[in-house]
């Protein structure tokens, strides 16, 4: 029974991993560009929620959209301010730019909010549900299902709408897309907005349940790498499955081996996958 509870908890957190990893995989698949600051975007989403609750006593229905919008703004700023010109430069500059951005954001948050762990005061979402003999935290349940729904919505947006198809067209073949009258620059900006926005929502959703500190972005950034490597680059459904899987593996290794081993298990798995199938479990070579 307790095992079932651990599994459900792992899957619910895994759904949130899937949401922010989808953003990373979108940019990666589209621009062949790794955002080393993606975990910091999630962290900023958490602190956006924190500030909203602290200053305006906002509820989840207010602070989740605000976190999303704040991060959309950050994503656009980063794209137009840095990424667009760095993309034309050497590879070294591409990696260094977001790596420097990650450090800058992490330690700015350190400076402003201090290194201490904080958690949101209990919001309108609270309590536990008893379903089929197991206890489920309501905020966790809402967070996990919302994240899963949003990840699926992102997939539907990409595959079923005009803007989504244009975005995928740029990912597939930039030059051909341009010939069809699509502006790659606009589509890439849209991808950055979606990626950062989803990271912001994911951060706010995690912040409802878990305590956090500025250094947590590093952990989420690495988690997103692992999810994307598992799920294949550029694949949102792959990220959803891989995210759930990673959440499950983390929960089980924390349960059987002890909490300090949950990250070790995930990183070790990541390195194993890089060895055996570096293009990702579900990815194409």
């Amino acid at each position: 029974m307790i095992l079932l509870q651990v599994i459900v908890g792992g899957l619910l957190l895994g759904a949130i991993y899937a949401l922010f990893s989808s953003g990373l995989t979108l940019i990666w698949g589209m621009m062949n560009f790794i955002n080393f600051a993606h975990g910091e975007f999630v962290m900023l989403g958490m602190y956006a929620a924190f500030v909203m609750v602290l200053w305006f006593h906002a509820g989840p229905l207010a602070f989740i959209p605000v976190a999303a919008l704040a991060l959309v703004a950050v994503g656009l700023l980063v794209y137009f301010g840095v990424i667009r010109s760095v993309m034309r430069g050497p590879m070294l500059a591409q990696i260094l730019s977001t790596f420097g951005l990650a450090l800058l954001l992490r330690y700015l948050a350190f400076w402003i909010f201090s290194a201490n762990f904080v958690s949101l005061p209990p919001t309108a979402l609270r309590g536990t549900l008893r379903i089929g003999g197991i206890l489920i935290d309501v905020p966790q349940l809402v967070g996990g299902t919302t994240a899963a729904a949003l990840t699926i919505a992102m997939h539907l947006f990409l595959t079923r709408t005009r803007a989504g198809s244009q975005l995928l067209a740029v990912a597939e073949d930039r030059a051909a897309a341009m010939l069809m009258g699509i502006r790659p620059d606009r589509m890439q900006a849209l991808a950055w907005a979606i990626a950062a926005g989803s990271a912001g929502i994911a951060g706010a959703l995690i912040a409802i349940t878990y305590p956090f500190s500025p250094s947590i972005g590093e952990v989420f950034g690495l988690t997103a790498f692992v999810v994307v490597t598992f799920g294949g680059f550029g694949s949102v459904p792959g990220a959803l499955i891989a995210g759930l899987l990673i959440g499950l593996i983390q929960a089980l290794s924390a349960f059987y081996l002890g909490p300090i081993y949950k990250d070790i298990a995930v990183y070790a798995l990541f390195i194993a996958v890089l060895w055996v199938r570096p293009q990702g479990l579900m990815g194409k070579a």
Binding site: V86, G89, I95, L103, Y107
Partner: protein
């Protein structure tokens, strides 16, 4: 010819300056800053072999530095050997790590290598921080009092200064040899275009792996000397992400993929860091790292070639126009 002799003269002047520096400014503080500077230059120059010349950006070089730093103190803890005896063991461990990381990721182009290095370095840091035989989160200590010459515990910082100077000279000499060797040309060609290099018959994977091993060995040696000097290492100081960050920023600030770049980067960054630490209160505040992050971002955005590139271009404005190396690099 004139250029070559001018460069040789510059290096001689720099070497002479480095040798007499502690005699001109003999205070313990100056020697300490000088030693820190030499260490930063040596590790950045070691990183530069794979990250600069070969263009494979490692963000986890702390694993090699950490292996180098832990092994000397481990052989002391286990068998009471002089710590310096652990240096070759550190190099062996680093070479094994380099092969483990490089073999799978160098099959692929792009960012895989960077991601793998950051993940492996983090994994090692987490494992070491929980491993009791390695001192867990507290770390390892060397001999408190020197038991003989081989413990290399000196009251003055001066011998360490010259040890690090010798190390830097070795790394730079190797880089200089690399620049004009066949391997060096292969590395630069695969940095410019891996596909083109491969189609011309360059053994791409083997070259990248060799460069990584060379880089790892020197980084590890620097870690060992650091551990012998401080007599202490913990997961943060030996394996923390900021260890890797410093190598990257020093090399990129001066100019990655150039011989003088890492030295220039250290000459600028370390005095600056010493000043900020003095005026903004220690390394505890994150301010130093905010500046680091901002500096890396600005270099990548505006001067991807580093300051050395800027100097060359500024000089080019006054000299007769020559075919720009800038364009060929940016086309890559």
């Amino acid at each position: 010819m004139r250029n070559a002799s001018r460069a040789a003269f510059g290096w001689l002047a720099l070497a002479a300056g480095a040798i007499v520096y502690p005699l001109v400014l003999p205070g313990a503080f100056y020697i300490d800053v000088g030693t820190t500077l030499l260490l930063a230059a040596a590790t950045a120059a070691a990183w530069n072999i794979i990250g600069g010349y070969a263009g494979q950006v490692s963000v986890g070089h702390a694993m090699f530095f950490g292996a180098g730093a832990y092994l000397p103190l481990l052989v002391y803890k286990l068998w009471q050997w002089p710590p310096i005896a652990g240096l070759p063991f550190g190099i062996v461990v680093s070479l094994v790590l380099a092969v483990l990381v490089g073999m799978p990721t160098f099959r692929l182009q792009g960012h895989y290598f960077s991601m793998a290095t950051i993940a492996v370095a983090e994994l090692i840091r987490l494992v070491v921080a929980t491993a009791e035989p390695l001192g867990a989160a507290i770390g390892l200590q060397g001999p408190a009092v020197g038991r003989g010459v081989w413990d290399l515990t000196f009251r003055s910082g001066l011998p360490y200064y010259y040890l690090f100077l010798a190390l830097l000279a070795m790394v730079l000499a190797t880089s200089w040899w690399l620049q004009r060797s066949r391997l060096g040309f292969y590395l630069r060609s695969l940095r410019a275009s891996e596909r083109a290099a491969r189609s011309l018959g360059v053994p791409v994977r083997r070259c990248k792996l060799l460069a990584l091993m060379l880089s790892a060995a020197f980084t590890s040696a620097a870690g060992s000397l650091y551990a012998v000097k401080t007599g202490f290492v913990d997961p943060e100081s030996g394996l923390g992400i900021l260890v890797s960050v410093q190598m990257i920023i020093v090399a990129a600030l001066g100019g990655a993929g150039t011989l003088f770049g890492p030295v220039l980067g250290a000459l600028i960054l370390i005095p600056l860091q010493t000043l900020t630490n003095t005026y903004f209160g220690g390394e505890g505040s994150g301010l130093t790292y905010i500046l680091y992050g901002g500096a890396i971002l600005l270099i990548a955005r505006f001067e991807p070639g580093g300051l050395l590139d800027l100097v060359y271009r500024a000089r080019g404005l006054f000299a007769k126009p020559a075919p720009s190396s800038e364009q060929s690099r940016h086309a890559a």
